[in-house]
Structure formats: C-alpha cells, structure tokens
C-alpha cells in the first residue's frame, strides 16, 4: 500500500468514525427522549460496532 492510498483510507476511516459517532449520539438522544423511538425499529449497536472498528483500524494502519 503506497502512502497516498494509506492517507486516503485513513481519511475515509476518520469520516466513518465521525459519522458513526455523531449518528450514535443522535440516536442515543432520540431514545432518551422517547423510549422505543430508535430501539423499536433499529438496532443502534450496529452504529456502535461500526464506530469501534473504524476507530481501531484507523489507529492500526
């Protein structure tokens, strides 16, 4: 992997981490505001896992 591709992948991972972090916070607030607002229709753990993995991979590469 050349350094340019590495920078590109890191940038995409950073964006993914930021997007999932903001999304998770919004979902958390919505669920806190009205119980079931999120959990009845969507498993927000998916976002959490996405956030953790993008963060870990970002740190590794």
């Amino acid at each position: 992997m050349n350094s340019l591709n590495k920078i590109l992948i890191k940038e995409i991972l950073r964006l993914l981490f930021a997007a999932s972090l903001v999304s998770y916070l919004i979902l958390f607030i919505l669920e806190f505001w009205q119980t079931g607002f999120v959990s009845l229709y969507f498993n927000s753990d998916i976002i959490l896992i996405l956030m953790i993995f993008s963060g870990i991979i970002f740190m590794i590469i």
Binding site: I7, L8, L15, A19, S23, Q34, F37, F42
Partner: protein, 178 residues
C-alpha cells in the same frame, strides 16, 4: 479520480446515510401516511412480549407452519408499545378454534378493569376504536376474551395477531394544502 474528490464523495455518502436513518426513524414513529402494521406471529417482537398471564396460556410452540400459543382460560392480555396514538385498529387474528367458540378482542379504556370489546368475526377480523384507548407510558393493553374457556377444558390456539393501526393521513393533509 482525484483523491480529494473521492474523500468528498465518501463524506457526503456518510452524511446521506446518517440522514436517511434519522428520516426512516421519524417516518416509522410518526407514520405520516396514517397507517402502521404490526404483525405479531409469536416470534421475537420488539412491540410486545406476548399473551399473559402465563397461568392462562401455554408456552409458545413452533412447528413448520409457524408459531402459536394455546389459550386455555379467559381472559388473556397483550401489552403493546404504541409508537403513536392511532384512531382505529383493524385486527386480524389467526386462530385454531376447533369448537367455534365466540372470540372477543378489545382494548383497555381506562385505569382498572375497563375494556371496550369487539366480536371477532368468522374470518378472525375485529375493528377497534382506539380513540378511547388508555395508553400508559406508550403501552396499550389489549384483551383477548374467549368466555367458553372459563373451565380450562378446552383451548384455542392463537397463531398470529396482525394489527393495522390507522390515524389521519398527515402527508395527504399537507399535500392537499399545497
């Protein structure tokens, strides 16, 4: 393709996906089309934990044709989380009722033991007026009454309860005003 353009595409893709998820959740919770269907077929369901009390129903049994729960005493209840307040509900019950017992389905209308019952027809359909429903902490309580089961001798198996909740079509109202 230039790297910065690729990064921009990904940035807007992630923003669009997050926005779509939020829109999807608001759409589901507010039902702007005025209709929401909840199909409870005795498998895991986020809206309800199933028929209760356990002393009047048997355990849920699943086979090749699907899952079901036998009711052997009267009445039984079904707590359901209501995402919104709806005006009416069309209920379709899938029953295994070999003795053709009369079946009633209803909704709790006030604190204590107050229910509005509706007779279930031969096809398993019932119509409920939810404008009088007593909803506590976003949860409505429904009642399934089969008076002939009072003496524990017989049972009726419920294989599915499909709710079609209806309220004003908010989207249509807005479109008409435009």
């Amino acid at each position: 393709m230039e790297k910065s353009i690729l990064v921009k595409i990904f940035k807007w893709l992630f923003i669009a996906l997050a926005a779509l998820l939020i829109i999807f959740l608001f759409w589901k919770n507010y039902s702007p089309t005025g209709e929401q269907t909840i199909d409870y077929n005795f498998t895991k369901n986020n809206f309800t934990a199933g028929l209760n009390p356990s002393a009047r129903v048997q355990k849920i049994v699943c086979d090749k044709t699907g899952c079901g729960q036998a009711v052997f005493n009267d009445p039984t209840y079904l707590d359901m989380i209501m995402p919104r307040r709806f005006q009416t509900a069309d209920v379709k019950l899938t029953l295994d009722n070999p003795n053709d017992f009369d079946v009633y389905f209803g909704v709790k209308t006030g604190p204590g033991w107050q229910y509005a019952l509706s007779k279930v027809d031969q096809n398993g359909n019932a119509h409920l007026d939810l404008s009088v429903a007593y909803i506590n902490k976003r949860t409505a309580e429904f009642i399934l009454s089969i008076p002939s089961l009072k003496d524990n001798k017989y049972s009726v198996t419920v294989k599915g309860i499909k709710f079609t909740f209806k309220k004003d079509n908010f989207l249509k109202k807005i479109l008409n005003k435009l």
